[in-house]
Symmetry: C2
Subunit: 134 residues, 2 copies
């Protein structure tokens, strides 16, 4: 049975369930940083998805990217599937702006996360959930 | 007319042309590090591809990932579309192994590239080109 990796569970809030994946918000107020996790047990690599699921997951990546772009008008979207430390397949989709904490470097490993206030995370989760479900 | 960004041209060798993208090998012998560049002028974000091209480019990503996995049996494939410094859309597909230079961190910004010898780059290019074309 699929279970979210404890490290991802500790660092994120659930935004919404999608068709194959669930979408999470990283608890780091420095960026709008989303993580898409296909709910398939044991999956480590994007290319290991079967043809149908691969097409669905890449469409989910597109929808999440479009939502971040539309909602926050960032300078760039960064997409990454790394998994060198947490092997469970998870895809980072991050809205980046000039002057954000790590800019222009990647966000991974750059300083410490700034946790959201409960009010702010609730507001962002609700707004993202509404947009993704449209 | 589409032209490869000068920074990408300087840092890579052409492996092969695919359907929408061209595939390049980073001139960095520390990793098997490939870069896929969709040849569409002005394109900066993966999600800006039209539905048909998006499907083709994500299939190209899958094929390149499978080829690296099959040919080099790495511990992990890392995939990244960042573009904070070079805006032209380019997708990194990198075979990673425990103990490689940056492991377990991402490769971007980690030290200096180790250029290939002409013999070694020619050998890798020929072997990748053959596998991708199968």
């Amino acid at each position: 049975m699929f279970e979210l990796h404890p490290r991802l569970r500790a660092d994120t809030f659930l935004v919404t369930k999608m068709e194959v994946s669930s979408l999470y918000l990283m608890n780091d107020a420095r960026y709008k940083w989303l993580i898409l996790v296909p709910e398939i047990e044991g999956l480590k690599e994007l290319h290991e998805l079967g043809v149908g699921d691969y097409s669905t997951v890449t469409s989910e990546i597109k929808l999440v990217s479009e939502t971040l772009a539309h909602q926050y008008s960032p300078k760039k979207i960064n997409i990454g599937a790394l998994g060198n430390m947490v092997e469970q397949l998870h895809i980072h989709i991050i809205a980046r702006n000039e002057g954000d904490f790590a800019w222009p470097d990647p966000v991974w490993g750059a300083g410490e996360a700034t946790p959201y206030s409960p009010e702010l995370s609730a507001e962002i989760l609700s707004s993202l959930k509404n947009s993704i479900s449209l």
